[in-house]
Symmetry: C2
Subunit: 554 residues, 2 copies
Amino acid sequence: MSKGSQKVQIIPLGGLGEIGKNMTVIRVDDEILLIDAGLMFPDEDMLGIDLVIPDITYLLENRDMIKAIVLTHGHEDHIGALPYVLKQISVPVYGTKLTLGILEGRLKENNVGCGNLHPVMPGDIINLGCFSVGFIRVNHSIPDAVGLSIKTPLGMIVHTGDFKLDYTPIDGKMTDFRRFSDLGNKGVLVMMADSTNAEREGHTPSERTVGVAFDKAFHNARQRILVATFSSNVSRIQQVIDTAVRYKRKVAVLGRSMVNVVSISLELGYINAPEGTLIDIDEINNFSMSQIVIITTGSQGEPMSALTRMSMSDHRKVTIVPGDTIIISATPIPGNEKLVSKTIDNLLKLGANVIYGRSEGIHVSGHASQEELKLMHNLVRPKFFIPVHGEYRMLVRHAKIAHELGMPKENIFISENGQILEFTRDKGVVAGKVTSGRVLVDGLGVGDVGNIVLRDRRQLSQDGILIIVVTMNKATGQVVAGPDIVSRGFVYVRESEALMDEARERVQQALDRCQDSKVTEWATIKSNVRDALGRYLFEKTRRRPMILPIIMEI
Amino acid sequence: MSKGSQKVQIIPLGGLGEIGKNMTVIRVDDEILLIDAGLMFPDEDMLGIDLVIPDITYLLENRDMIKAIVLTHGHEDHIGALPYVLKQISVPVYGTKLTLGILEGRLKENNVGCGNLHPVMPGDIINLGCFSVGFIRVNHSIPDAVGLSIKTPLGMIVHTGDFKLDYTPIDGKMTDFRRFSDLGNKGVLVMMADSTNAEREGHTPSERTVGVAFDKAFHNARQRILVATFSSNVSRIQQVIDTAVRYKRKVAVLGRSMVNVVSISLELGYINAPEGTLIDIDEINNFSMSQIVIITTGSQGEPMSALTRMSMSDHRKVTIVPGDTIIISATPIPGNEKLVSKTIDNLLKLGANVIYGRSEGIHVSGHASQEELKLMHNLVRPKFFIPVHGEYRMLVRHAKIAHELGMPKENIFISENGQILEFTRDKGVVAGKVTSGRVLVDGLGVGDVGNIVLRDRRQLSQDGILIIVVTMNKATGQVVAGPDIVSRGFVYVRESEALMDEARERVQQALDRCQDSKVTEWATIKSNVRDALGRYLFEKTRRRPMILPIIMEI
């Protein structure tokens, strides 16, 4: 226990001003507790990037101080960076059983050892350095999610994790209102709370309402039923299984991540299915269409997912036929709207009946809406508040809610990644910045694609490239071969011969001018060629392809 | 009048299975009437493309048959392809005053003559070849919008155009219910109707409800007000002006397209502003913040628009300051969600109060929801129905509505672009296909970017390019210079020296192997180099950059 400590620092390294790559440092003197280590999916302008993880320079610089990583739940935006973090930092990881089960799969895929994972139960309180960390059950769109109480020498910190308040959860396990309320009674210094749905009025419906919509859809379906949802939404999958059992249907599971999560959940007891309900996808043809339900991935229209392949009649095992009922039990994540629409259109063209969209009741959010947030604030009644887990406007909205509930504005911190928020028992200040940001993962490369490479990819994607190759005699400066022009992604060359001939002519003229004026530095020759050709092409096409002069020397 | 005609053909050339590039052929014998000629904005996977227009091969092949083009309203997705069409086909164009006013601007920008434009009034009926075309006033998010009644020798065709049923339109000019009802009473052979909001339950709110929301926002604002909306939403702009007058504020207009439309609308009398209300943007500093309203473009987060520039503190004339109230009077068009969110976030960071989102009442749609569609079907009571103007699922939904209202399924045609729908007085059949599709416009190039160029741009955008240059002696087959490797958009080269050195080594080995085994065909050498390098790079990075070997010969 650090007895002399005067202050506690909270440093978000990800998740503020964005949805994704959640990661928060709690530091007292030279002891650090890390909450979550998530990834983010790339923005559209991060061309070719597979995923984004937080910059952990700060952690690497202070690696010896880190006592543990504690996890709130098993979603990618909370655990997805761990394979990268644990390769560089050796530190114990604490989480609930399902969270660690999912994490183990990820670590094995990345050849990272699983020896230092420590399961906890909701309700547990464990000591990690000077911190005493309590795991508090909350409802979310994945079971076994927890919020955290972190007792520090300076006072209690509460982190809600991702949460909603579901009064009728599928697994019967409710948010631990009593624990939050006890914490509130004893006094909480700082609360961090989920802001994802801070813009949404009212109360997020219970997961159970989706079961009612499933029942209606199953009742109406005469032939095969396919349900696409997030693989991590274990309660949703349980409801599909329950409804299938009621309607005497067998359930097959399809899609790599869906198969993984269902198998872990069955093994750990988070999914229950009567003997004989689950069948292998290869067995579906042993039953009639009216006896089958397929649970699958692809609710976001992801190009390689099972549902997307089926919608393009390109799936090895399942062919969509007229009469199929397809339930898309999800809403598009911002940015995926067009992919999802395209998938729906294609499925409809194949004659399927597709049930989708908000008005159908076949999806509910896993995040608290405004009235739930207000209840949480009323239970915990923190002195200071940091809205987390949200894009900037969501944080602003959540801050407004806290203010409307009576919290003084100066006690609310709309923060950003890398900011050091420093609290004493009665004061909170912004006390500087640490290194933070995005590390881009592209294939096996972690951080080898940065702004310059992305800028090049953007230019290449817009107007393509023209490469001009010339071989020159080093001694005489004479052109001995070329100039040759090769283009990709610029124009369809066979139909643009005149343009390309004239382009070559312009390059030749630029080279001649260089020779006439005795210019011999390659850099100058290249820049003259680039300018002359760029000007000509822009005038003719209003495009600005990348122009890459290459001079070979013999 | 074609007395002997036995059938009428309806051929959609655009707008079916998509939102955009609306264009429909009505043909009786050798007479063609063309309805609308719109453009579409490119999908995300059409890298570098500026806009998309319909393939008009069918029109070019039958150019002498085309009697006229009739326009329903002045939106880009209905008139935007005309600069391209009229360059190739000389034909009279009919539309209402505002529609032609906006079109003239577009034609002048593209150096196309405006000599053959013929204004009509809603209510007019004109003869064009064997067709008698009536222009029927409808409400939409732009004034002077019309539906069409097209009397053919085979019967009456009704095209609703884009419409909603607004009982309290801002300009006081209501949808001409009586005309639609009269047509219904006399008997309509085929109806084509707007399907944009066929998925939306209930009734689209009146444009006037936005005025109420504006009033509330203006009442609460203490400092400057900015309103971003679509430049073509003339009634919206009128409501901003009206509210500004009530609150004794001056109005400045910003953004190229906004300035254009406001100036045309003022000139033609579609916008009215009391003397002295409108001021130049350069005059805003002569007034206090509380006296100013700025109407601007950028409601879709378009990168070059005025609001987006302001949000990035990059606008020459307007700097956002804390206390500004910014009203985003639009909802994001699918695909623009993230751009709009980013703009809102940036404006909030600058300290502005931003009013946005569906729940605020600051935007309504211009398209009919389900109850309005039902009313239109009940008024017109066509024998046959073609849902138009919508993505596939919207057409399916609209067809379902028609069926639920009692129309037999075989009388409803969910069609696609290029399909020939042929109708006699009592029968409709699909009678073949004509050439149709997308022509991509990139800069000045119309159709010179096709699938090959796009495929290259996609590959370049994902993993970049490596260019390998070798100079060879033609006579001996000896390498006299190189191999040199140049990459763009692949990795940050300075930090990947080992990788690039090894890559060069692999290329050298491949060349050596070719020489040892006396391979001299360039194509084989290139393909060996490409394979060897591609394999190596994939193994090391899991990326597949474009690999472009170039051999120079001396």
